[in-house]
Subunit: 155 residues, 2 copies
């Protein structure tokens, strides 16, 4: 199961991530793909750098999978997050959740991305046109920022 | 744009479908993948056959994309639906919606699958262990069934 919750430096394969959760009893797979956005509030991003505490981050991703299984029975979840330098449009995270029926796949996938932002120790450094900073662009992550770079965001 | 709304006899590539909507201004791509489920209400499916009125179905898929663009500004949508014989776990439909921010990607994707079930002329034939029938397994599709096979479902 551990390969279902992975931090990687390599480009993420959507097909392989979906393959981790595809199974005969599922009729629905929802996938959330977070990509590097060029413009945020009028500022142009050149590229991003992600860093993670890998072992803790993978444990936290697995914890999210367990939370999902408790909340939505008969789900299977995979989450792969990339670290290192990412260019515009590169995929930073792929979440895949398979369920027998579609409503649960949407709800569980949405839950997963919110929880990643809340509890997983991954940070991003924005390299703007006019400088660089460790930043997350969402209010809910500010609580994590005392003396540290803020948590990531795919808002 | 027309290749964004496609009925095909070939296996669907998730990566290619996502590639149709990936763009610098998007930070989120939600993907819904409908797969062939083996067991439905205790009955075992051996395989499915999908049929579509191709030109009308593609036009209706494009119409759904236009509805999404009207409801959620700055979205890009692609929908690919397979027809012909599909085995267990095969992918029947892939919806990909890219948006600047993630909430819209979930809402628009969910809207798309519901609208596919409502307005797109695609039908499925269930081949059960003990027989076969044109069927959709959801109440909301019954209205379409007068004298015809029922509409498909990924409930």
């Amino acid at each position: 199961m551990s390969r279902c919750y992975t931090i990687t430096k390599e480009p993420i394969s959507i097909e392989k991530t979906v393959g981790l959760v595809s199974r005969p009893e599922a009729g629905a797979i929802n996938t959330f793909i977070g990509t590097v956005r060029e413009i945020t509030e009028g500022k142009r991003t050149l590229f991003l750098e992600y860093q993670a505490y890998q072992s803790m981050a993978e444990a936290k991703l697995a914890e999210i999978g367990e939370e999902i299984s408790a909340k939505w029975p008969n789900t299977k979840t995979a989450i792969v997050h990339r670290v290192g330098r990412l260019d515009i449009e590169d995929i930073a995270v792929v979440i895949a959740v398979s369920t027998p029926h579609r409503a649960d796949s949407y709800e569980a996938s949405r839950y997963a991305i919110e929880r990643i932002k809340e509890i997983v120790p991954i940070w991003k450094k924005e390299h703007w046109e006019d400088g660089e900073e460790w930043i997350g662009d969402q209010k809910e992550t500010k609580a994590y920022s005392a003396g540290k770079p803020e948590k990531e965001d795919f808002s």
